[in-house]
């Protein structure tokens, strides 16, 4: 009898947990993936990728949360067409050979105001673990009947770790990444 009760409780808890997990699709109109890189050690050149998509799951148990983000490399935009053409070439992102930059979470831990997300970051044919803190998680109904939540986070990585060593020196090796996105509840 006790065995049956335990089974029922485990099942009930499992169902409750599943019921509370929310799946979201990133709203491309309210998603940004920006980068900043130092130029001559004097200033920062900024750019962004205009095509960001992905999905994520928010679960009351943080370890069950998951984030997957896909960025189209071709959509790089630094506000200068000639530079963008060069960035798309094999000298930098090699957009035709590696058309996507992806992040897929492997571990999520709760932190104050958000999550510390560790995952596999794949860029330029190289995959490396990257950790970023995503703050946010508030919710809003906009427009009526559409539930949203959003997060913002940043990290710094070395582009040479991803096989992009073009002009390291005058153009910095450290790249500051900043991501912000809203998800629409499915």
């Amino acid at each position: 009898m006790r065995y049956v009760m335990n089974c029922v409780m485990v099942l009930a808890l499992g169902l409750a947990s599943t019921a509370q997990a929310d799946d979201y699709a990133i709203d491309p109109a309210h998603a940004a993936f920006d980068f900043r890189i130092q130029h001559l050690g004097l200033s920062w050149t900024t750019g962004r990728f205009n095509a960001v998509e992905g999905v994520f799951r928010i679960d009351p148990t943080p370890a069950n949360c998951a984030f997957t983000v896909t960025i189209q490399t071709e959509s790089v935009d630094s506000g200068n067409k000639q530079r963008d053409d060069h960035l798309r070439s094999p000298d930098w992102f090699n957009a035709k050979q590696h058309p996507q930059i992806t992040f897929k979470s492997t571990a999520v831990k709760p932190v104050e105001g958000g999550y510390e997300v560790t995952g596999d970051f794949a860029m330029h044919g190289v995959t490396k673990p990257v950790t970023l803190v995503l703050k946010g998680g508030g919710s809003a109904e906009f427009p009526k009947g559409v539930q949203r939540t959003g997060f913002t986070g940043s990290t710094v990585l070395k582009r040479s770790d991803f096989g992009m060593s073009t002009m390291v020196g005058p153009v910095g090796d450290d790249v500051q990444l900043w991501i912000s996105f809203e998800g629409i509840k499915k």
Binding site: D85, P90, N94, P99, G125
Partner: protein
């Protein structure tokens, strides 16, 4: 990135390697294997220059340049050597070159969005049509140039290819793919050496040199167009420019003495190439948006290389 000194050293190295290979094979004049010196010299000269410019294989044919230098060029050298060593029927020669030309597209585009059909890529039907068309566009000039070289052996063909390589390099660099454009510059040196060596070696037809030179040039244009931002118009113009040499077969040029004819062909070639480079330069300026205050010039690649020295 483009460093004039490094480029000049690479060009010199390419020229020296080409000359040394030709010299070594000229000593085997009586041997039937001597003829493969020409395709080998051009292929080795091109690869040497590329290595001098920093080309290092990073993965198993992971990049377009690795596939060009380690697959397509050796394939062209092998086929041209085979054709020059073993005289064969025209149909067999076309077939052998056709196999290389048709396989060049898929080899150079291996693993890219064009082949995988990802975002911005092609559907299967488009892929087959495009790859066939690209193969034909490599094969037709190849056959035209080697046929002309056999009909009217003249170093001007190699010189025209050399000049076109130089222009292709500059145009590809201006089109946003600096490292691919650089590769064409040692190729220009290699072909120039082959052009001047042919009369000296008493082998004016330089068998195989023109064929390998064309494949190397077509490869640079191909990756510049599909992996960089070389425009189709510039790619096509640069690709057809060496065919100007066919005017030598037309009246009244075919009756002219050799030197005035060569001079006219080279002048026409340089005019065409100059127009393409000038247009590419204008496009570069427009897209760079160089609007530095006070009319300050926009920084060049060299400025970046010299920074902090």
């Amino acid at each position: 990135m483009p460093d004039p000194v490094a480029i000049l050293i690479a060009m010199a190295a390419s020229g020296v390697v080409t000359a040394l290979v030709l010299l070594a094979y000229s000593r085997l004049r009586s041997s039937p294997g001597a003829v493969i010196g020409w395709p080998l010299a051009v292929g080795l000269g091109f690869v040497t220059g590329s290595i001098m410019l920093g080309f290092r294989p990073r993965g198993v044919l992971a990049t377009d340049q690795e596939r060009l230098l380690l697959l397509v060029v050796p394939l062209a050298v092998t086929v041209e050597s085979w054709i020059t060593m073993k005289p064969m029927s025209t149909a067999r020669m076309v077939l052998a070159r056709g196999c290389v030309a048709l396989s060049s597209g898929p080899l150079l585009l291996l693993g890219s969005v064009y082949m995988t059909g990802g975002s911005g890529g092609w559907s299967l039907a488009e892929r087959v049509c495009f790859l066939f068309g690209l193969g034909v566009s490599i094969l037709v000039p190849w056959l035209a140039l080697v046929t002309l070289q056999q009909r009217r052996p003249d170093p001007v063909i190699s010189l025209t290819l050399a000049a076109t390589s130089l222009a292709a390099g500059i145009t590809t660099m201006l089109s946003g793919y600096a490292s691919a454009g650089q590769l064409a510059l040692p190729l220009a040196a290699t072909l120039a050496v082959a052009a001047f060596a042919a009369p000296a070696a008493a082998s004016p037809s330089a068998p195989g040199a023109v064929g390998v030179g064309w494949i190397c040039l077509a490869g640079v244009l191909f990756i510049g167009r599909f992996f960089g931002s070389l425009t189709t118009l510039h790619g096509v113009l640069l690709g057809v420019t060496p065919l100007v040499c066919w005017l030598a077969e037309c009246r009244p040029l075919c009756f002219w003495a050799a030197w005035p004819r060569r001079l006219l062909l080279l002048t026409l070639t340089l005019l065409l190439l100059g127009t393409v480079v000038w247009q590419a330069q204008n496009r570069f300026r427009t897209h760079s948006g160089s609007s530095a205050p006070g009319g300050a010039p926009a920084p060049s690649m060299q400025d970046y290389l010299d920074f902090g020295r």
